[in-house]
Amino acid sequence: MPETYILGIESSCDETAAAVVRSGEQVVSNVVFSQIATHQPYGGVVPELASREHLRAIVPVVRKALADANQTFPSIDALAVTQGPGLAGALLVSISYAKALAFALDKPLIAVNHLEGHIHAVLLEERQKGNRQLSFPVLALVVSGGHTHLYLAMQGECGWSYQNIGHTRDDAAGEAFDKVAKLLALGYPGGPMIEKLSAHGDPTAVSFPPAQLKHRDRNDRENGQDSDQPRFDFSYSGIKTAVLRYVETHGLRDSIEARRRAARAIAQPTAADYLSHCDRKTLDLVASFQHAVVGDLVGKTLAAARASNAASLFVTGGVAANNQLRQRFERDSAMEGLSVFFPSRPLSTDNAAMIAAAAYPKFVAQDFAPMNFSAEAGLALK
């Protein structure tokens, strides 16, 4: 097959992104416009602002991705766009734009699941490094602000397929980081700040019991669904409540309020600013929280890997940028003789290169999107 250039476009949450990827194995350009600064004052992504910022950014971002790749609209072979999951209004911006482009240019359009994109971020970079030998089965942990999912990934004749063997039953892991950061007045997004502050605390100071997940629920029992199929579900609501309880029982309220006021007085508070307003107890709490979440993610994922005889492990998504998580995964999988792969940091968080990469096998299989497809906020990966 000749070289195929796919233009990927992604706007499922708070990054407007476009990229050109060659034949699913080489990033030719990768442009990401982050809206974090827009949403920071609100402590989370504000959907209406996100859609508006996507509208403003999408044309220049796509133009830059083409220019960086020395490509033009007529020279690319296909367009790929994220169909979901994500914020419906945000998804619609790039879907509408991609549809219009595909129609005007008479090029095929490929709809990609965002979660599949994260998995293909790993595959893309491994191929780029020349590593084409991948051992199956592949187990992938997609972990971010909105997702905590375990998939077995299979490569078949007509592209890739996925089996979900675990997901969060309440909060995503990244969401727990954000909520704890908000509770402790450590700004938004929570993950990078908690990671930086954790280096200054004792991760063993506070012990958080691991989430105990009970029984499959009664719907499944009544329907007699796959009761023998082991599940590897996650839960991060309990640890968030445990942090709240610790704050209440250890008199941290006043220092949190003082920190909130101090942070408000600074235009762009940095980790150093927050650090100077954190006492030992808070730093220990933060480090212990991260330690517990990382331990839970690594422990459950490796248990799932053992049960499914996984030969390769992918860890991807925004939370995969966390260093502690990477180190624990590397150490613990090495002990089990399991190869673990992460995307580089720029491809861990949301980007369009992963969308263009995931679209390539669909391009080969001529699995194109009908012109009437639309955004699906809760799109499942199969």
């Binding site: 504000v46 999951p85 209004g89 909105g146 969060t168 309440d170 629920d217 719907n219 609501s237």
Partner: protein, 154 residues
């Protein structure tokens, strides 16, 4: 699960649950109160059990398995379609102005067979006016939750 009826200006029913499982079970029993169309305000602090209660409600409506009901914080609206009702679990924490609310298109969700379960809906007068039921969750102790159902009399 204990229940007691109090006779205030509004009709209030109070329950104490002692575990997440009891909170889910309470959600199942709420289904008969929630025949669509309904607008329900869900109130409670972080960790009060709002998502846990919605697990029971969604399962009771056969709209979703308990395990598949997760926090709507990230995407703001979670939709669960059942045979008798379409459930929408909505988090308005980051939505501040009526204009922002408008862009969420909640009006499009309100229909004959919809039940809207709205967190932070009390920020908007229209939901305070239009709500059929208010569910207030409070953490009493590690596992105990006080859950009050408040509706207008009549």
């Amino acid at each position: 699960m204990n229940s007691r009826y109090t006779d205030l200006a509004m009709d209030t029913r109070e329950f104490i649950t002692h575990s997440p499982e009891e909170t889910i079970a309470l959600g199942w029993t709420l289904v008969e109160l929630l025949t669509p169309p309904k607008i329900v305000l869900l109130r409670g602090d972080l960790g009060a059990g709002k998502t846990t209660l919605v697990k029971g409600i969604a399962a009771g409506f056969r709209a979703a398995a308990e395990d598949d009901v997760t926090s709507p914080t990230f995407t703001l609206v979670h939709e669960y379609r059942g045979p008798a009702a379409n459930l929408y679990h909505i988090d308005l924490y980051r939505v501040d102005t009526p204009r922002q609310l408008e862009t969420l298109g909640l009006d499009d969700l309100i229909s004959e067979n919809s039940v809207l379960l709205i967190e932070w809906g009390e920020k908007f007068p229209r939901f305070v006016r239009e709500r059929d039921l208010e569910i207030v969750l409070e953490r009493v102790s590690e596992n105990e939750r006080r859950i009050r159902l408040i509706s207008d009399r009549g």
